[in-house]
Symmetry: C2
Subunit: 227 residues, 2 copies
DNA sequence: ATTTAAATTCATCGCTTGTTGAATTGTCAA
DNA sequence: TTGACAATTCAACAAGCGATGAATTTAAAT
């Protein structure tokens, strides 16, 4: 007779689905959808549906949409930065008292991304695509990239300046920019290279991408900055 | 008394604003807005307003929104491809009977973009940003890039294969991919490098970007494909 | 002169958007 | 046991969305 209500209003019993972690479910779904469709391509209702959550809960946890976007972008930026920094430091200590080689700096910059993408956590693959979106956007790039990644840039530019003493700063920044672009597209995982190469190369073959990318970028730096 | 009607219904006198070219005005405004905000970030009303045109006229000329997007993307793709091809051919003839050098191939690929961006036609700068958006999008990239640029890729990969006979195809495609990413971000003109470098480098300094990019990319190709 | 077609505006359709206030249910400390 | 607070659903809001049929004006063809 009376139709069984499938969703119950009000605070759920904490034992119902222990560690449901709705907040994180929202962030994960948002990460995936924003990466795929961009900021404006995702509606809060689609997101709520993907996260298995009522639409009002998004605002309850994260405020308005823009703030949610910033939160999603920030979350893994901090982790990634930390891993890059420790990778750089340990490479510098390994090389001491000599100055570190360019290849090692590039490696400290790229390997954390590769490790993240190959991890079990699917969220990292989504985050890399989001990073490509933000990095290439004239609206979000100057805001979010500067806000969350500029400190890291300074550290790596410093390291490169020591490794390439003949370079002037403009050379270093431009080359860093090329690296950033190559990295973004490569790890954005769009499936483009699969089609382009007729299936010979695969977007999700991170090992192949990485093996070639380090020497590619390092040689570029040397050519421009070590003349 | 009677309020002056500022817009008149019906077909306008052809002498009214000769060569008004409303169709092209729509395409140009769409190019700019799509490049800045992406597909979903642009509403047809915003676009109509920017183009100084009634919203219904967009559908009349270009059909539904998706079809408009494709038309915008296609327009300059054909021009760009043609210029890249002739640049490659004339470089090959200049080198004959020797095989062309890697640097010359990269140059044939990049210089048309630089010339376009430095031209008076502001639309080219917008188009480059649009190209970066599409290239990095997992939704549009595999569709539009493949549709409008894959033939060109084949030609350039062929040329690179001749210039780097020791390389296997996977190497070539991956390096091409790095080049594509570096180019996209660099010419996307997001203003990121301006902030990153504290004003030392400027996004719109295409000459500076280009002067360093050719040797950077060429050295990368040689390192990976000429071992 | 008449008819047909092209180019434009207007008004409106049904749906979706982000956001929010109110109601509901559960937890936990006093 | 009561009262404050946390977590959730529901219903609704004004605004905006893409699309389109009808009306209108002009140009071109006959």
């Amino acid at each position: 007779m009376c139709p069984r209500k499938t969703t119950k209003v009000g605070r759920p019993r904490s034992s119902d689905n222990e560690k449901s972690e709705r907040g994180e479910r929202i962030l994960n779904a948002a990460e995936e959808l924003f990466a795929l469709h961009g900021y404006d391509g995702v509606t809060l209702r689609t997101l709520a549906n993907a996260a298995g959550v009522d639409v009002a809960l998004i605002n309850y946890y994260f405020g308005p949409k823009q703030q949610l976007f910033d939160t999603v972008f920030k979350r893994r930026a901090e982790i990634l930065n930390q891993e890059r920094l420790t990778a750089l430091e340990s490479a510098q200590q390994a090389a001491a008292p000599d100055v570190i080689a360019v290849e090692k700096i590039i490696e400290a910059f790229l390997r954390p991304l590769e490790v993240a993408q190959e991890s079990d956590d699917e969220g990292w693959r989504n985050y890399c695509a989001l990073l490509a979106y933000v990095n290439n956007s004239a609206v979000w790039g100057p805001v979010l990239m500067s806000k969350h990644y500029n400190d890291l840039v300074d550290v790596f530019i410093d390291a490169l300046r020591q490794a390439l003493p003949k370079a002037d700063d403009a050379d270093l920044y431009w080359c860093y920019h090329y690296m950033s672009g190559a990295m973004s597209l490569t790890f954005a995982n769009t499936g483009r290279i699969d089609k382009m190469s007729g299936g010979l190369c695969r977007s999700d073959d991170f090992q192949a991408a990485y093996d070639r990318m380090i020497p590619f970028i390092a040689a570029g730096f040397r050519q421009v900055c070590d003349r």
